[in-house]
């Protein structure tokens, strides 16, 4: 009697566990980011608004983005985003050390992070000997006419990514 009883009890317990997995799946889906949050994950940047030599700040997925239309005296770099023959530096404006927002210094043409003194040049490259371990990150983008769509991965972005230039 007892072995049979235990077997039925265990079968019921096991089957209940299967149901619980279903319940946990529904619970997991409830925790997922909402579709509206995901849909809001792309930002369109109108490049005609960019002034030469002066970075403008955009917002993408809650983070600040630098878009700098390079002037002639700023060195070109393979990380530059070229739209209609104009060079832009585009990056997530968070220092790669601990995530503070660097400020653009016009005089030295650098991005300076006040938190721990990190410095990046106009191509977003970190100057050696300072805390930041890597260049400013380039967000995924696609070029559409004279605009950048932040959040979607266009061929230009994928090319940069392939050459390990986005980070």
């Amino acid at each position: 009697m007892s072995t049979r009883r235990d077997f039925m009890g265990m079968a019921l317990g096991g089957f209940t566990a299967v149901g619980a997995v279903g319940g946990f799946y529904a619970a997991k889906r409830t925790w997922d980011p909402l579709p509206s949050v995901k849909a809001a994950g792309s930002t369109i940047v109108d490049l005609s608004q960019a002034k030469e030599g002066e970075p403008m700040t955009e917002k993408w997925r809650g983070k600040p983005i630098f878009v700098l239309r390079k002037s002639a005296d700023m060195p070109a770099h393979e990380r530059d985003v070229v739209v209609k023959g104009v060079r832009y530096h585009v990056s997530i404006a968070l220092c790669t050390h601990l995530g503070c927002i660097p400020a653009y210094k016009k005089a030295s043409k650098t991005f300076f992070c006040a938190c721990h003194g990190g410095v990046f040049d106009t191509s977003g490259i970190n100057l050696p000997g300072l805390p930041p371990p890597s260049p400013l990150e380039i967000p995924p983008f696609a070029i559409e006419g004279n605009t950048l769509v932040l959040g979607s991965e266009g061929p230009e972005y994928l090319a940069l990514k392939k050459n390990n230039l986005v980070v």
């Binding site: 009883r5 089957f15 279903g22 917002k59």
Partner: protein, 358 residues
């Protein structure tokens, strides 16, 4: 077995209570009665527009008045009731004549080409520009042939207020925004224009397009980001101030349109995002077919959707108001199946546990 008998008793009283508070109480609550206490059944007529609902309403109004006159003792009140009766009979005759004429026009053979030429004068207002004219935005007619009933379109061109069954609203000084068309078109011209609409504007609309053309100028749908002016445009906030000035400007435009509309309709027509849950299927069907049957005196016009047109609008209302239906239909059998098997296993376990107890 004793337990089954007890279960039967519990189930009986539970179901009795359910029957009383749900189907029975809801029926009693929404039933409509005439003056003599007979229930008036409101039924759908398959979205056919030939004056049937008007005739039925007139018949009830007249018999109610006659009944009241028969019972009234006070001579003065009796006289005023008799006056009302004369008016009701006038309305009845007027409507009957109107729909008879509509039927005659329906017999004519329309010429689409001539209709197209005549239709040119309509595009002055029906231009899709979202401009308020006389209280309301004229509807976009891009899919009119697919959405609206032929007989209704004939009636509308003949007399818009009568076709929409809101003539009571325009009895005094108020003008129907499209009222100027009344009597300006010959019967042949009406037949031509309707033939043109039925032939050339008959492209199959999507569910949303059907709603946008038939309902949106009065009703917003905020769960689909739709206002009386259509889809809410995408705008961007100013990153330095956090304000989205374009959105504010748009909101003001919507508010102004709503104020004009509310002035014209008497109140702001409701947002329809949840209407499919707030009203029964039967209500929706009969109300859209003829709003006066469910809400006598309402300023909502009959829009003249054909059955196919109504199905499209209904589909959109379901998509927005009850979006979980596909997921429910998918998951329901699985969950119920799970509990069936669970119950069988639990019964087997219980049987073994209780086997040697008695």
């Amino acid at each position: 077995m004793k337990e089954l008998k007890i279960f039967g008793v519990v189930a009986f009283f539970s179901l009795l209570t359910y029957y009383l508070v749900e189907p029975y109480a809801h029926h009693a609550m929404h039933a409509k009665f005439d003056a003599q206490g007979n229930e008036i059944k409101i039924e759908s007529h398959g979205f056919v527009y030939d004056g049937t609902t008007e005739a039925a309403a007139s018949a009830v109004a007249i018999s109610d008045l006659e009944y009241k006159i028969g019972k009234e003792k006070d001579a003065k009140l009796k006289a005023s009731l008799e006056k009302k009766l004369t008016l009701a009979k006038d309305v009845q005759a007027k409507k009957a004549t109107f729909w008879k004429e509509v039927a005659t026009i329906g017999q004519l053979t329309g010429n689409a080409k001539a209709g197209e030429a005549a239709f040119a004068s309509c595009t002055g207002c029906h231009n899709g520009l979202n401009m308020n004219m006389g209280g309301v935005i004229p509807p976009n007619l891009d899919h009119a042939g697919a959405l609206y009933d032929e007989n209704y379109l004939i009636a509308l061109l003949k007399d818009p207020a009568m076709a929409s069954n809101v003539d009571h609203k325009y009895a005094d000084t108020m003008l129907h925004p499209m009222g100027s068309i009344k009597g300006t078109m010959s019967h042949q011209q009406i037949a031509d224009v309707v033939t043109y609409l039925k032939e050339k504007k008959a492209a199959e609309p999507t569910a949303k397009t059907a709603f946008m053309e038939a309902c949106v100028r009065c009703h917003a749908m905020r769960y689909d980001k739709v206002t009386q002016l259509g889809d809410i445009p995408k705008t961007k906030e100013n990153i330095k101030t956090g304000h989205d000035i374009d959105a504010m400007k748009y909101a003001q435009k919507v508010a102004e349109e709503q104020a004009t509309l509310a002035g014209y309709m008497g109140k702001l027509p409701p947002d329809l995002s949840m209407i499919i849950r707030a009203r029964s299927e039967h209500f929706m069907e009969t109300f859209i077919e003829d709003p006066q049957t469910q809400l006598p005196g309402t300023s909502m016009p009959r829009v003249g959707l054909s059955e196919a047109g109504y199905e499209k609008v209904h589909e959109y209302l379901m998509d927005i108001g009850d979006p979980s239906k596909p997921a429910r239909d998918m998951a329901g059998p699985w969950v119920l199946g799970f509990f069936f098997i669970f119950t069988i296993l639990a019964y087997l376990w219980k049987s073994h546990q209780w086997k040697d107890l008695h």
